[in-house]
Amino acid sequence: MFEISSKILDYFGISSDFSVIVVVLVFFVYGLFALTFASLFAGITSWYERRIAGRMQSRIGPNRVGYQGFWQWLADGLKCWFKEDIIPKDTDSVLFRIAPYFVFTGVLSTFVVIPFSPTIVGSDMNVGLVYIIAITALVVAGILMAGWASNSKWTLLGGIRSAAQMISYEIPVALSLIVVIIPAGTLSLQKIIQMQGGAPYNWFIFHNPGTFAAFFIYFTSALAEGNRTPFDLPEAESELVAGYNTEYSGMRFLFFLFAEWMNLYVIGAIATAVFLGGWRIPGIAYEVQAASLWLQFVGFIIFLIKALLLVNVIIWLRWTLPRLRIDQLMIMCYKYLIPLSVIMILLSVFFTVIYYSLPFLSLAVRIVLFILSLIVAGYFGYRVYFNIKYFPDKTYLRWMI
């Protein structure tokens, strides 16, 4: 955004006395854009997720409001808006009131460094990844606040579980990102994207076996950090009523859900930026793309498509896997994900050093990994076909309309 504001300043020839106002204005507009984008995304995803869930469970899902029920999210929002905001007696009312905004702010703040295109980014910090890991700690604080302030055992248990889970899973998230930071040599998200190519085999996920595994480790731990199923223990309905947001109602309740759905995009966007090549277009150099507004827009669309595909996978996982138990959750973090990501760091270091002396090996490893994952994807398609073909009830074997 600094680049854009300096361009505007140059264009209008504004003297340095007023430049602060222009810069603040530009940042304000960008903030509004990010907020609108995140809110729209969260709203539409809330409808989309329910439709997908319906399909996967052989139901229909919300389809009454507008075409295919598309406006359901607005209807739900309006409903929550008009609802009475109940604050139970004996709660710590100040903490109770501000807790949802902590969660919301914690997730929304990550949009500062999440890029949309080569120049459209809140701030291209040189510590971008560290910033993301640090700022999401606000979410933990918010959830703990909500759990404590509600003065109910369910919310307190939910809050404590959530804190334990999110703090634990921040370790594998950070470690799996380090795997990429080693070959990239930078923490800035824009620079990391810049170092990847447009073609799939130039992405960091295929850089070496270490980064390949790190993508899956990152994805799993990010799900756990974002309290998504199969790791949604803080709001385990069967055990804790609704966890930390049990006592909330109306708009405050909605803010928690907003944060949860926005977090889907954050997970997808970080994974896209770090592992999947971000906004790079195949065959076009970075300088060319950064100079052209049109190519930036194409990059934005490419970024969005990749991130939304990952969001789809997250939703799909939610309706596939059962919830883990709390001890299994901790075992998975400390016995599996952390040691594995440390091994992946070592692998990544090894390959990065090797590539310096044997550059041709780099391309070979990339292409082998790329072909390998294509084969896995092909096998997956076969398994889907197999499940459709050999399902005993033939009555419903008609394709989706």
Binding site: M56, I60, L317, W399
Partner: protein
């Protein structure tokens, strides 16, 4: 936990997630089982499986006035009145459909299968009193099971035992219901 065990755990989780996702994805490509009732189908009766316990229906021409159903009903939904005297008449047969819990005990008790469940499920009204179904408008003579009757001459009466034997079969053959709930709360049987 040995090291091979550790590796097997990782392998198992990866494979099972892979397979599970293939299953859910295959389901996403299918048409849902759910059929939208008022939108896509008018009545929905043909979709209902046999043995569905919908609103109760009484074939008064078969009722013997034995009051077995009234006595069996655990919550007193059925009210049957039989006049006394030399000529017995069934003067009243009311079922409070709003109160009924569709347990089916009355249909079990009935010796002639006169009271039975239909597949009718949509019968909301604007006044709950309209859900008291009156099956008798004019006094009806109770049905007398005749010993020498055969299943062929239905009007002469059927063997009770035969009916009991065929009860399961009748459920299967039973057609979509003819219960109507007009404004007055009167239920008319087209048969009678």
């Amino acid at each position: 936990m040995s090291f091979t065990n550790y590796l097997a755990n990782i392998r198992n989780s990866v494979v099972s997630i892979f397979e599970g996702m293939a299953v859910t994805f295959s389901w996403m490509l299918r048409r849902p089982h759910t059929v939208q009732y008022p939108d896509k189908v008018d009545k929905g009766h043909e979709l209902i499986k046999e043995g569905f316990r919908g609103i109760l229906e009484v074939d008064v021409s078969l009722c013997t006035g034995c009051l077995a159903c009234q006595r069996t009903c655990p919550i007193g939904v059925i009210l049957v009145e039989v006049s006394k005297g030399t000529e017995r008449y069934i003067t009243r047969f009311d079922i409070d459909a709003a109160k009924c819990m569709y347990c089916g005990l009355c249909t079990e008790a009935c010796p002639t299968n006169a009271i039975r469940h239909t597949k009718e499920f949509a019968y909301s009204v604007d006044d709950i009193r309209k859900l008291v179904l009156h099956y008798i408008k004019e006094p009806v003579k109770p049905y007398k099971p005749v010993k020498d009757a055969t299943p062929d001459n239905f009007n002469a009466g059927r063997f009770v035992s035969e009916i009991v034997k065929n009860r399961e079969k009748e459920y299967v053959e039973y057609e979509a219901p003819s219960v109507k709930i007009p404004d007055g709360g009167q239920t008319e049987k087209e048969k009678n």
